[in-house]
């Protein structure tokens, strides 16, 4: 049944699928109620072929294992839902992500799947937001839903929905957000059916295979060209697990055997007692490596599952990246991000195009819940941002999102709906690592709470700073403070904390980490350093110490004095080291 598809038709189908995938985003974002999905776009769609292989999207496919569970009993009008990471081999990695999957039929023939998962504000468990910083097992992290039918041949399974909504603090929001995910899947289904009508079903299905092949071939070339046969290792650390353990080591070794790239995490610490374990699906691992290389070399290449057989992944069982049930998972983003940092470090050692510095290193969360004067429950959950890494292309961004398409919730929005007043929102001076391309700065956000309640915070890179690369220096670390009403004295609080009681007038100061610099800071144009000083992003002191730039009273570069100082600093230093960590791991005993 392999139909030959001409290259123009193939291009058209590729574009149409890409457009359908963006349309899924559009539908979900417009319908959903929770700010996490809507304003911050914490939702991830994909469209798959009939075998469950992702053709477009940005996360790996878990569909075959779900289909296997139902022994192929997949019907038109069925819609499946689940959230248990252990029931889908880690394709989603904490209970907050609800995943929806819909088989697509064209004239009764099964032609593919559409699927989206999105972050629910609350799924029950021991704390509001369902991500207890001190959880020891997944039992504390809210309701676990195995893959079940929420629609069976077009009929809503009210019982399943009732159970799901009965186990959350925010049932109205979750209902709307779930319906938004379903509407997104239906949109994709409509578009795929239209493509089958337009080009013929066989053509469409062959085109999907050709799209997989095309991406595979591009990846094969990139792997052969840029992945060395000799093993390259890189190690980075997660601060702690919220229970006082840490730092946790993650080690990645990359090598190549023929066309196959091997990514081996042997040497990574064992699973944590606290909830920072990242139960990652092997396919997802492959996708992450593939996307990183595509984005660095040719972003126009469509990424999909075509290249999966070109990667071999080793995830030691019982480690931070392959924990045993029922290890707690909710706060896995710290580990998730360190995974990317190791990837950048290991790949960047040999290939300049792949050498990004380390970023703010997680997805910082701020959660404030309580009851207002009318005794109505409120729960604000906000994701914060920090320094985006210095890059071969240029400076990192100050207080920007490392994660794709996320954006900050408008402060005027937050203040309209929640009893908080934001007093300050600005980049932190000197937190961007010095470099030829400066690392992005972390941000400082000061919340004044207006009602009594409790605050939970998740962040990392408080102990282990984001490293710099190719001569760039490390960036600033994160910190959290509370200033009680009537006092001006800030008290340091941990970067992972749950249910801190707050009273009206208390202020929480949330500082995120910056990012590492890229390239030798002594080569950064002095005028650019001076501009950063005038903008308040770099202090005169760091201009001198980090960049070797001396300033006039008007904060302009003193070119002559700078030249002399830089010559002296370069001589003292010699060639810059490839990495600047700003951190020495504590002496540790072998874990085993």
């Amino acid at each position: 049944m392999a139909v030959k598809v001409d290259p123009i038709t193939l291009d058209i189908i590729e574009n149409a699928l890409k457009n359908a995938r963006f349309e899924m985003d559009g539908v979900v974002v417009r319908i959903s109620l929770s700010p996490v999905i809507r304003e911050q776009h914490d939702e991830f769609p994909m469209i798959c072929n009939e075998r469950g292989q992702m053709i477009v999207g940005q996360f790996g496919s878990y569909i075959p294992s779900v289909v296997e569970k139902f022994q192929g009993d997949i019907n038109e009008g069925d819609i499946f839902v689940w959230n248990d990471p252990y029931a889908c081999k880690g394709s989603i990695s904490h209970n907050n992500d609800w995943c929806v999957m819909m088989p697509i039929f064209h004239e009764g023939v099964h032609v593919g799947f559409s699927s989206i998962f999105g972050h629910m504000v609350d799924v029950g468990g021991s704390v509001p937001g369902s991500m207890p910083a001190n959880a020891r097992t997944i039992w504390e992290e809210g309701l676990r839903i195995p893959p079940v039918r929420i629609y069976s041949k077009g009929v809503l399974n009210e019982g399943v929905l009732d159970i799901m909504l009965n186990n959350t603090r925010t049932p109205d929001m979750n209902r709307a957000d779930l319906m938004a995910l379903i509407a997104g899947c239906r949109t994709a289904s409509t578009r795929v059916k239209e493509l089958c009508d337009r080009f013929g079903r066989e053509t469409y299905m062959s085109a999907c295979d050709m799209l997989l092949d095309r991406t595979r071939e591009a990846m094969r070339v990139v792997i052969r060209k840029y992945i060395p046969e000799e093993p390259v290792s890189f190690t980075d650390y997660v601060d702690d697990d919220g229970l006082g353990n840490g730092p946790f080591r993650m080690t990645l070794t990359i090598s190549r055997r023929g066309d196959i790239a091997v990514f081996d995490f042997t040497g990574t610490d064992g699973q944590a007692e606290g909830p920072i374990n990242f139960h990652i699906h092997e396919g997802l691992c492959k996708l992450f490596f593939g996307v990183y290389m595509i984005m660095s070399f040719d972003p126009s290449v469509l990424f999909n599952e075509g290249f999966y057989d070109l990667f071999e992944i080793v995830l030691p069982e019982g480690s931070l990246l392959n924990p045993r049930f029922p290890a707690a998972l909710s706060n896995r983003l710290n580990t998730h991000t360190r995974f990317f940092d190791c990837q950048a470090g290991a790949l960047g050692k040999f290939v300049p195009q792949l050498s990004m510095a380390a970023g703010y290193g997680t997805s910082p969360h701020f959660i404030f819940s309580g009851h207002d004067k009318d005794n109505k429950y409120f729960q604000l959950m906000e994701l914060l941002f920090g320094g985006v890494p210095g890059r071969p292309k240029g400076d990192g961004f100050d207080g920007h999102a490392w994660w794709p398409l996320f954006s900050a919730t408008p402060i005027e929005y937050i203040e309209n709906y929640y009893p908080v007043l934001v007093e300050r929102y600005q980049p932190i001076q000197d937190s961007g690592g010095p470099g030829l391309h400066r690392g992005g700065a972390g941000i400082e956000k000061v919340y004044r709470v207006l009602e009594p309640g409790q605050v939970s915070i998740h962040d990392d890179r408080e102990v282990v700073p984001p490293w710099g690369i190719n001569g760039g220096l490390h960036g600033g670390t994160s910190s959290k403070w509370v200033i009680r009403a009537g006092s001006d004295e800030p008290t340091r609080i941990p970067s992972k904390i749950d249910n801190l009681k707050v009273k009206p007038g208390d202020r929480v100061v949330f500082k995120t980490a910056g990012s590492g610099g890229w390239g030798d800071p002594l080569d950064r144009p002095a005028a650019t350093v001076a501009r950063d000083v005038r903008y308040g992003l770099v202090s005169a002191r760091q201009a001198e110490e980090g960049y070797g730039v001396l300033l006039t009273v008007e904060n302009l570069a003193d070119e002559k004095a700078t030249e002399a100082l830089r010559a002296k600093l370069k001589e003292e230093r010699g060639a810059p080291p490839p990495f600047d960590f700003g951190f020495t791991p504590p002496e540790r005993q072998a874990a085993e």
Binding site: I8, Q58, A183, W403
Partner: protein
């Protein structure tokens, strides 16, 4: 007499309509990018001569301008000072923290400097909360000192954008008074007046953009008024807004941000006009110029209005005709990528200077136009005889690209055109398929200098027929201006749950907005008979992030009853748009009042019907390359094709301002309005 003036990148197009005689005249003069008003004044003179009228006979000038757009895109706007609430000085710098997708999208992200520099931004000690209550008193002493410092530093305009000013503009106004007293020459924009809506970044950037282009726009408009006055023109000057409406020149110099998409608006309004006249209710506007192509959708004679747009990387929350732009046009340059060996077309453009190789002005890299020359689609001498094309030069340049790909010059030229078409197709897909519209139900209107060369091929790819080539596709934008209405929106953000909301709160706010709208209509000198006002509420489910605009009838506003009917409409519209309705409280976000002043339609004389054989319209027969072979192809003179004439493809139809390619297996007929309609032969007849 009404005169439409459209300033494009290469040419300034003018169209004059005499209502008494129902005659229209057109003229074209080279644009003068260094000062657009020079070209405009020259054009006005020229068209008066052509029409044999005195400049003082013109009553109205309707002008679409790219002055504001270009200033933003080229980063050549004014130096803007910005006053914000203390603690939020970095709002523009942080730019909502957004980075592009997909995963690792930041690796390739490019971010322009904010339109107001951090060095020119000051944090004022003051604060309102979301209800518009003062949380921190405005410190007038500190504010005055900051204003003195900033306003004497060389800024050309000042934006004041404070937290929650949409809910209470008192502090913004107080600051403006200080500036007015001490620096009366510095123009000031308040975010609470330019965009009284919540979301601090969007409000600030939109207001700053207004100031960024305001001094330039003001200078431009006063220059143009001076020039016209000295030439004896006594007409009122109106400027075309991004939403296709009109505003007076003085309003435009206060609110130039409303003109950021003024340029493409003309083509869209013309397509709306063609749709109403030709009876094709669904049309795609396809405006292919030298450097870019703009596309839009018209349904039932109306275009969609979007509440926000982007100018380069910057969002602008102003009502805009929903136009999608891509960087492919007749001047787009073709080259072969060293890394992958693939053929790429655009977004680099040869522009007006040096222009494509065939223009013989020193261009050396082949452009899309050159490919059209090589294939025989563009004749060696353009009609009117005022421009001879360098066919050999174009062929040599295209051949060089072909050699790198192992293709003949013909196949390389074909490839260049196919790739340009594919890029433009992407834009057409976004506005149709991606919005749930089937392009096969649409016709496509070709305009801009290059539109009619490519439109038949686009229709073949998308299945959108007929291809409609209007009488004067080169000056179509100017025609659209002639029928543009006056239009303005008055918006008030008012975020409240509709549960327990006293309807009087809504009606009284509508009254206030309506009063503003009436005042504006009077300022614009719109007569009572032409004026109309419509009402809408922006509603959403509580805490949803996007609003749905729900019309409220004027009757309901007068009756001052409850909101039940509007709420029911909201649920229906939400279900229609997104397929679901929820049983959660509905929230009011904003009230919207739109004022319109109607403009009488342009009455055109009907085209005389065809007499005799279409063969009489053949100018010459030349080889052209279709489906892999050279075919002797007749070239027709459009002026000699009367209503009802039918031409079989392949053919080239030539006229003063454009050239139409009619592909094999298609035919063209001339409709009673003089439009060329192209259909596939298989579609019958």
């Amino acid at each position: 007499m009404r005169l439409g003036v459209d300033v494009g990148g290469t040419f300034t197009d003018l169209l004059l309509h005499d209502e008494k005689t129902n005659r229209t005249f057109q003229a074209k003069t080279p644009s003068t990018p260094e000062d657009q008003s020079i070209g405009v004044a020259a054009g006005v003179k020229l068209i008066c001569e052509k029409a044999g009228i005195s400049p003082s006979d013109i009553d109205l000038i309707l002008h679409g301008t790219t002055v504001a757009t270009n200033a933003v895109l080229e980063g050549k706007g004014s130096r803007v000072g910005l006053l914000v609430t203390e603690g939020f000085e970095y709002t523009l710098h942080l730019a909502k923290a957004w980075t592009p997708g997909p995963l690792f999208g930041w690796i390739n992200m490019e971010k322009p400097d904010p339109l107001a520099s951090l060095a020119d931004t000051r944090g004022i000690p003051e604060r309102m909360n979301a209800r518009g209550e003062v949380v921190r008193e405005l410190d007038l002493d500190v504010a005055t000192r900051m204003i003195d410092d900033l306003c004497s530093s060389g800024i050309e305009a000042l934006t004041i954008s404070l937290m929650h000013s949409y809910a209470n503009p008192a502090h913004e106004r107080a600051l403006r008074e200080i500036v007015a007293a001490r620096f009366p020459n510095i123009p000031v924009s308040l975010s609470s007046e330019i965009l009284p809506e919540f979301r601090e970044y969007d409000r600030a950037i939109t207001t700053v953009m207004n100031d960024y282009v305001r001094p330039i726009m003001k200078r431009y408009l006063s220059r143009i008024e001076d020039r016209l006055k000295s030439d004896g023109v006594r007409a009122r000057l109106h400027i075309v807004r991004s939403d296709g409406g009109l505003m007076s020149a003085s309003a435009a110099s206060e609110r130039p941000v409303h003109t950021v998409l003024s340029g493409p608006a003309g083509g869209v309004t013309s397509t709306m006009m063609l749709s109403r006249r030709s009876g094709f209710s669904k049309l795609l506007a396809f405006d292919m110029g030298g450097t870019s192509t703009d596309v839009a959708v018209i349904i039932d004679g109306e275009a969609t209005i979007s509440r926000s747009t982007e100018v380069g990387m910057f969002p602008a929350k102003v009502p805009t005709l929903d136009v999608r732009s891509v960087g492919a046009g007749g001047g787009s340059i073709a080259d072969v990528s060293e890394l992958t060996g693939s053929l790429r077309v655009g977004p680099r453009s040869a522009g007006a200077r040096p222009g494509p190789v065939s223009y013989g002005r020193g261009g050396t890299e082949p452009a899309v136009s050159d490919a059209n020359v090589v294939l025989g689609y563009l004749p060696p001498v353009l009609l009117g005889g005022d421009m001879t094309l360098d066919v050999e030069g174009a062929r040599a340049a295209v051949a060089r690209v072909g050699a790198q790909l192992g293709l003949s010059p013909e196949d390389a030229a074909k490839g260049i055109i196919d790739i340009a078409n594919e890029v433009m197709l992407g834009a057409l897909r976004v506005i149709t398929v991606q919005r749930g519209l089937d392009p096969r139900e649409f016709g496509i209107v070709a305009f801009g200098g290059a539109g009619p060369l490519h439109a038949n091929a686009m229709a073949e790819l998308l299945g959108c027929y007929p291809v409609l080539v209007p009488t004067n596709p080169g000056v179509l934008c100017a025609l659209g201006f002639l029928e543009a209405d006056f239009r303005n929106e008055f918006v008030q953000t008012y975020i409240r749950s509709t549960v327990g909301l006293a309807p009087a709160e809504v009606w009284s706010r509508f009254d206030e907005l309506e009063a503003k709208a009436q005042e504006w209509l009077i300022e614009q000198e719109v007569s009572k008979a032409d004026a109309s006002i419509t009402f809408a509420l922006d509603l959403r489910y509580e805490q949803q992030g996007f609003e749905v605009s729900v019309p409220v009838s004027a009757d309901d506003v007068r009756k001052r009853g409850d909101l039940a009917r509007t709420l029911a409409d909201f649920h229906d519209i939400h279900e229609r748009l997104y397929g679901v309705r929820f049983h959660v409280p509905v929230e009011l976000v904003a009230l919207r009042v739109v004022a319109r002043g109607a403009t009488p339609p342009v009455e055109e004389a009907k085209l005389a019907s065809a007499g005799g054989d279409v063969k009489n319209a053949i100018l010459e027969t030349r080889p052209a390359y279709f489906n892999g072979a050279w075919v002797d192809t007749p070239h027709y003179d459009r002026a000699k094709l009367g209503a009802g004439a039918r031409v079989e493809g392949p053919a080239i139809i030539r006229q003063y301002d454009t050239t139409t390619v009619l592909l094999p297996a298609h035919y063209a007929e001339i409709d009673p309005h003089g439009n060329i309609l192209i259909w596939p032969v298989s579609k019958g007849a």
